[in-house]
């Protein structure tokens, strides 16, 4: 029913309550009756089970692999139940099913974050600008909302139109969350199918969130030349009042910028941000400064520099008020999802609140009106900055050494560190005045603060690290291209063929959070490797930021060296996390614009197209959040594989192919219906890699697709082999699985590859027109 739709337009309606002009009403979903822009596919507004058969097709090849993070279930009062190795809980659940359930729950929480964000932003923008802001992304973007078209089957004309899509997401989410209740779904494959559905919805929600802010706030509209903006601790003038914005929802930051503009305060106040709000601030106003990703949040607060901290939603530390209190900076919360126990002062006079804040009478306030919050923080920042001078400094080196002297070398810090860093050794060295180890630690640290929290001696380890790295702070000044948003149709037209045919070796997207296994530099190193190899490199969110915090051998930032186009050897920053939808959206647009497949309500076919033809892979090296889980799962349903860092193993689930099982890798040849071996391409849908070297070799391999032309395949194999040689040594053991004909062999490697193939008893294979969907077979095989 949820897909049923009606759209009415009427110039004048006579009703019992009067005459209404220009009535436009949408019920359920919108159908554009005035023009059939495309025939409707089989699954507009798909409900939970409508794409189940596609999911089962994927899950048959890419079986869920479960690594339980806990052997127990504690979700109801029958528990805890011990589910070890086949034991069942009081509700009949076993450990595998429980993993599927937890994965679904994580994805749902991720979806809720994006959908809740989209909905909040939608209300904000509709209230500010009305429902009729056109969805106009410029002349080069006709396919304005690929996910909306694909999933919902309509073309949004105005931001108001997205309401039905959001309602659809909201209704579906409730059904899906219900399935996690004790006594509901009891099969792991169905939990996975539901998780895949959530992932799909997640990309839809992200698309909506980003498009409405782009069109309403006039962010760059797919501009490859979006401005280079500043990023890094050192970009902020700490002598001015400093407003720090943290979160993902740009509403309050927009109002701050507007307020500064209206009051000619642009030069008087520094506005900087952490996480995606920072991205989006620079998309609105290129003078805003990005401090950095989530991993820099606690660090920047500990420097004492921020005068006021304004938080919106998502990726904000749970101890934000406590940390802000430490540096005597007031916190202004602005979103119902993050109230922090602060008093609701939304309806009090601003000056009263300012007065309370600058006199440190309250640690912070909750102001649900973004405009008011903006005025409040600017006024507060200006007033409080002079009073906060004393708190803007870190302890002296001598104080630091005194603190370090309390250390008993108990190793609790190290054993609490997610990355097992030798924190104790660094503190021990500091005892003797050697801060270098603390500074080294600061360089690689993900900024979680767990070491400090675990220290039985109460040593403020994190402050010590911050101090030790203080000299770096001023130096940290980099450039990042402001998030450009969607990929242009014109770009798709240019790269569609080379991607599908395999001649652009792949699209590699660095996305997600900074829970890295080691230094943040690894992300940039990986990106650089693939930029040099002329892959299309895309980035978003925290990883887009971390890529900026790295200089090439020539001392240049990657965004300065590589152009911002969606093209071979270019580096695209799409923007904040919700801009991830443009990455998957680009894959959809390839199917639509280049291959002219119908999008409308036609999810399964497009996903099949992408899986078999579009050599794209996501790398979420520090994937941490539930959002990252649902984003990755959404990529997966669409046929795009993802690699996560080793911490990603704690998501508990991978989708793994088995290259050794030949039978798993047959596809239909759409021309004949014949089943053809197409090689393990892509090998996995999602898996955690142990090292960046492994991730790079796998990235190249996961870009291989059954549809590659021989020329394309040869290019892809050249990179795969080359990276394998570089990081692993020798030829890949599975090379023969990817060589279909001799023409697939990279010309420069011909001899050694042929020799290897001989050893393996290789025989030439057919190159299919690949599909996994029997209904797409054009002519049945005899």
């Amino acid at each position: 029913m949820s897909g049923e739709s009606l759209r009415l337009k009427a110039t004048e309606v006579q009703t019992t309550i009067g005459v209404i002009k220009g009535l436009e009403v949408a019920i359920g979903a919108v159908i554009e009756e005035e023009e059939e822009w495309e025939p409707m596919g089989p699954t507009p507004f798909p409900k939970v089970t409508d794409l189940r058969s596609w999911d089962m097709t994927l899950l048959k090849r890419y079986k869920p692999f479960y690594a339980p993070f806990c052997d127990l279930c504690c979700l109801c009062t029958y528990g805890k139940c011990d589910l070890t190795a086949g034991k069942r809980g009081a509700c009949g659940l076993d450990i595998g099913t429980q993993q599927g359930r937890i994965v679904l729950l994580a994805c749902l929480i991720g979806l809720a974050a994006h959908a809740g964000h989209a909905r909040h932003l939608w209300h904000y923008l509709v209230e500010k600008f009305g429902r009729n802001v056109p969805v106009d992304l410029g002349g080069d973007i006709a396919v304005e909302a690929p996910h909306t078209r694909l999933i919902c089957g309509f073309r949004p004309k105005t931001i108001g139109d997205f309401d039905v899509a959001l309602k659809y997401v909201e209704e579906q989410l409730v059904q899906l969350l219900s399935a996690t209740h004790t006594g509901q779904e009891g099969n792991y494959l169905d939990f996975e199918s539901k998780a895949l559905h959530v992932g799909m919805l997640d990309h839809l929600a992200m698309e909506i969130a980003d498009i409405i802010q782009i069109v309403a706030l006039n962010f760059p509209k797919g501009d490859p030349d979006a401005p280079l903006v500043e990023i890094g601790f050192g970009t902020v003038d700490r002598n001015k009042p400093v407003i720090l914005c943290i979160g993902h929802n740009v509403a309050p930051a927009v109002e701050i910028v507007d307020y500064l503009r209206e009051h000619n305060l642009y030069d008087k106040v520094e506005v900087c941000g952490v996480c995606c709000t920072a991205h989006d601030m620079t998309r609105y106003y290129s003078g805003a400064k990005i401090i950095g990703p989530l991993s820099r949040q606690l660090r920047y607060i500990r420097t004492g520099i921020p005068d006021v901290i304004i938080v919106d939603e998502q990726c904000i530390r749970a101890d934000i008020v406590r940390e802000a209190q430490r540096i005597h900076a007031p916190v202004v919360a602005t979103n119902e999802k993050k109230c922090e126990g602060l008093p609701d002062r939304t309806h009090d006079p601003i000056d009263e609140i300012v007065d309370d804040l600058v006199n440190f009478r309250v640690p912070g306030v909750f102001i649900e009106d973004p405009r008011k919050a903006a005025e409040l923080v600017v006024k507060t920042a200006i007033k409080i900055a002079p009073l906060r001078k004393q708190y803007k400094t870190l302890p002296s080196k001598e104080e630091l050494i005194e603190l370090a002297k309390k250390c008993t070398n108990c190793k609790s810090c190290r054993r609490a560190c997610p990355n097992d860093y030798p924190v104790n050794e660094a503190v021990q060295a500091a005892k003797n005045g050697d801060l270098s180890k603390l500074a080294e630690l600061a360089e690689v640290c993900v900024g979680c603060g767990r070491c400090e929290s675990a220290c039985p001696r109460g040593i403020p380890i994190f402050t010590l690290m911050t101090k030790a790295a203080e000299a770096e702070i001023e130096k940290e000044r980099y450039k990042i291209r402001a998030g450009r948003g969607p990929i242009k149709d014109t770009e798709i037209r240019n790269v569609g063929a080379p991607i599908v045919l395999g001649e652009i070796p792949g699209v590699v997207a660095y996305i997600g959070c900074p829970n890295y296994p080691g230094s943040y530099r690894e992300v940039a190193e990986m990106a650089e490797e693939f930029l040099r190899r002329r892959y299309i490199v895309v980035a978003s969110g925290c990883e887009a930021m971390d890529i900026a915090r790295y200089l090439t051998e020539e001392g240049k930032g990657l965004y300065e060296v590589y152009p911002g186009d969606f093209d071979a050897g270019c580096l695209v920053n799409v923007g904040s996390c919700v801009a991830n939808a443009h990455i998957s959206g680009a894959a959809i647009k390839i199917a639509s614009i280049f291959a002219r497949r119908n999008l409308r309500g036609n999810y399964e076919e497009i996903a099949d197209y992408i899986l078999n033809r579009v050599g794209a892979v996501g790398v979420a090296w520090g994937a941490m959040s539930q959002k990252a889980a649902s984003i990755a799962t959404g990529f997966n349903r669409l046929g795009i594989p993802a690699i996560v860092g080793p911490h990603g193993s704690k998501y508990r689930r991978a989708y793994l192919g088995r290259p050794d099982r030949e039978e798993d890798w047959y596809v239909y040849d759409a021309r004949t219906g014949e089943k053809v071996y197409a090689g393990p391409a892509p090998e996995h849908l999602i898996y955690p890699a142990e090292s960046k070297e492994e991730a790079m070799v796998m990235t190249a391999k996961l870009c291989i697709r059954p549809n590659d032309t021989t020329k394309g395949r040869a290019i892809k194999l050249a990179h795969y082999i080359d990276l394998h040689k570089k990081f692993f040594g020798g030829l890949p053991e599975d090379l023969h699985l990817f060589v279909r004909t001799e023409a697939d062999i990279p010309i420069t490697m011909k001899d050694e590859v042929l020799e290897f193939l001989k050893e393996k008893g290789w025989k030439p294979m057919k190159i299919p027109d690949p599909t996994l969907l029997p209904r797409l077979i054009r002519r049945k095989a005899k």
Binding site: A85, I95, R415, D420, K650, A654, R658, M698, F727
Partner: protein, 178 residues
């Protein structure tokens, strides 16, 4: 006897690894092992134990005829040390195969009885051992790293570098002695 997980919070549940009290204890288990396999990871590339590179022990175990799977980017250093891994693949791939009761091993002669983990990122290893604990309950898993791995069948307790080295040396000498 049991120990606390090295990463304090890594508490999985009621079933936790038995402690390997010494290198000899490991040797005793391995000697009886019908079809052992050694899985090595990123840490063997750079990590040392009390001055000795980890890879040395891999070389020794390989010499004793235990097939080695190279995960992460460990293949290169193995080749450099003359060890030809029986396979190179992500850690999760080999884990996935080990939990398949149908799988016949790299030589086609049948599944493995003992999976020995060495030089692998602590928490990733823990997750893989968890997968095997639950889904390959008959497989005996052994962690030779210096940190206690609760999800293994057998693990060293948390060892100092010195004790670890001693345990590894003793393991090798006992194996050779046998």
């Amino acid at each position: 006897m049991s120990a606390k997980p090295w990463q304090i919070s890594n508490i999985p549940g009621p079933k936790t690894a038995s402690i390997l009290k010494s290198g000899e204890a490991v040797a005793k288990i391995l000697k009886k092992a019908k079809r052992p396999i050694l899985i090595v990871g990123a840490r063997i590339v750079t990590e040392k134990v009390d001055g000795e590179p980890l890879v040395k022990y891999v070389v020794e175990l390989a010499k004793l005829g235990i097939p080695v799977v190279a995960t992460a980017h460990s293949r290169k250093i193995l080749l450099e040390h003359g060890v030809k891994p029986v396979a190179t693949m992500p850690l999760i791939n080999i884990t996935n195969m080990l939990k398949d009761p149908e799988w016949k091993g790299f030589d086609g002669n049948g599944g493995y009885t003992h999976a020995i983990f060495f030089g692998i990122t602590y928490y990733l290893q823990s997750q893989m051992l968890s997968a095997l604990k639950h889904f390959a309950p008959k497989l005996i898993t052994i962690s030779l790293d210096k940190e206690y791995q609760p999800n293994a069948t057998w693990s060293f307790p948390n060892l100092s570098e010195k004790d670890w080295k001693e345990a590894l040396e003793k393991m090798i000498s006992s194996l050779k002695g046998g």
